[in-house]
Subunit: 289 residues, 2 copies
């Protein structure tokens, strides 16, 4: 049976770090969240961020915009927040309604306040290994590896999923010339010819595809470290439950260590997002040179 | 014996494309190159660009600055060129002297004129699969694959080298959801544990590490397509010669296809750089939104 890589102690250490720093600085940074429409999952996520942030001394303002808000009206709100010196972080909660181009919204947020790390300038700075605001989920994966002493140097890390928010930034981070980094990184996806052959080569397997229990025991070699980024809501036994991209029950028997869902990567992601607000407050003047 | 993937016909097609478009537009775009010091390899490369560009109707201005130019003076020249409407592309030739921070110079060039694709904003746009100026060498690799009908979808592409100018952008491009792309991409480097095991898995092997004849026949599986990005100057038999990162003589026996050095990727890189000037002229207003 594998070691369970719980997110809670990792998140706790991050919250402590932020609270201590903000107490010392005697300041209360502010994150402003723009929510378009009323997606329940988004409301839950943002509610959680607000609660966690409050505990470490960060104020979260949540502003709801109607689902049919025009692109122009949304961009005008972003502009106002970009210019507001009392706002340190700006987050536009995704998914956005289909009439709004997410790429344009991402590029509209002041890079210095971009706590999601979605602005092209920050994505580029990440790819170039320069100081930036790193997407919270990618950070969370690295924080879990670091916390549990799982080294990446020279090891085969296979990432399942090539998304711009997780798979690709994580691949970049794992190629950095410092720990966690120096990994041999393979990125697989729906077009990969023999997926099981790829996942079985992994010393560390990161699943980030958004398909419930997709990774089965036969896709995992004995002793692999499995990091499950997926959070999929499914109906089961008449109830609505959250499961990962990994079939936990069977994979845990072969893995040497595995993150649970819920209570794994997601828990740490929230902490990293909150810390990004602190980073944005701290570095606002340094990022956008 | 393998098929030789010559760069010349690929480059020729690119030059024809640019010349035809510029003749039609009846315009002569301008590339301004800043050279710091007198590195002979840089002078050769820039001289070659000037010659090729002239033939397709692009004007290249080469400006030499002393090796001890101050960072501020260099940045002031860049600012002036950024603002000059008669200049469509700005290139600062590397390597720069050690007293000048390359990262600051890269971020100083107007992203719309950044024909090297080195500005963090353009690096980010590449990572996000948005229209941008793509580094010429990475483009060259894809152009060769396309020209010779070598498909990448679902195939294992192993990239040897994780540099910010070749390995990492190429990995991103090969993960795009179109051809050439959809590859399963592995990035290897000096910290990879069992390099030969990785390179032998490749359907397509791209060597970009800058080590003369590093890839030997035992590192390559029968039938692999080998793309050699390296250009290394070595002394041999009393003469100075250019060789790639691949030991061509032995690897060509096993490979199904291979690029020569010289006359392979480098030849196409020059063409892609020249085309980037055309792209910059064409898209100047679209890039920097």
């Amino acid at each position: 049976m594998s070691e369970q890589l719980k997110g809670r102690p990792v998140a706790k250490a991050i919250y402590n770090e932020v609270r201590t720093a903000l107490e010392k600085a005697a300041t209360t940074p502010c994150l402003h969240v723009l929510m378009v429409g009323d997606d329940p999952a988004s409301q839950y996520y943002v509610g959680n961020i607000s609660k966690r942030a409050a505990k470490v001394g960060i104020n979260v303002e949540v502003e709801s915009l109607p689902a049919d808000v025009s692109r122009q009206a949304l961009l005008q709100r972003i502009e106002a927040l970009n210019a507001d010196a009392a706002v340190h972080g700006v987050m536009v909660q995704k998914p956005l309604p289909s009439h709004i181009d997410t790429a344009i919204v991402d590029a509209a947020v002041n890079p210095a306040k971009d706590v999601d790390g979605a602005h092209p300038l920050n994505v580029g700075r990440l790819a170039l290994d320069r100081e930036t605001l790193v997407p919270a989920t990618a950070q969370a994966v690295l924080e879990i590896l670091r916390h549990y002493g799982i080294h990446t140097a020279g090891r085969n890390v296979t990432i399942l999923g090539r998304s711009a928010v997780i798979g690709r930034p994580l691949a970049n981070l794992l190629l950095y010339k410092n720990e966690p980094g120096n990994a041999t990184v393979t990125v697989c996806h729906s077009r990969t010819r023999d997926l099981a052959a790829e996942t079985r080569r992994a010393d560390i397997l990161v699943a980030a595809i958004g398909r419930p229990r997709f990774v089965s025991a036969d896709m995992v070699r004995e002793g692999t470290v499995v990091i499950d980024v997926g959070v999929n809501q499914i109906e089961e036994g008449g109830a609505s439950v959250y499961v990962g991209d990994v079939d936990y029950t069977t994979v845990t028997i072969k893995a040497s260590a595995i993150t649970p869902v819920p209570g794994g990567v997601g828990t740490v992601t929230t902490a990293c997002l909150v810390r990004n607000v602190y980073y944005a407050w701290q570095r606002m003047k340094k990022i956008d040179r």
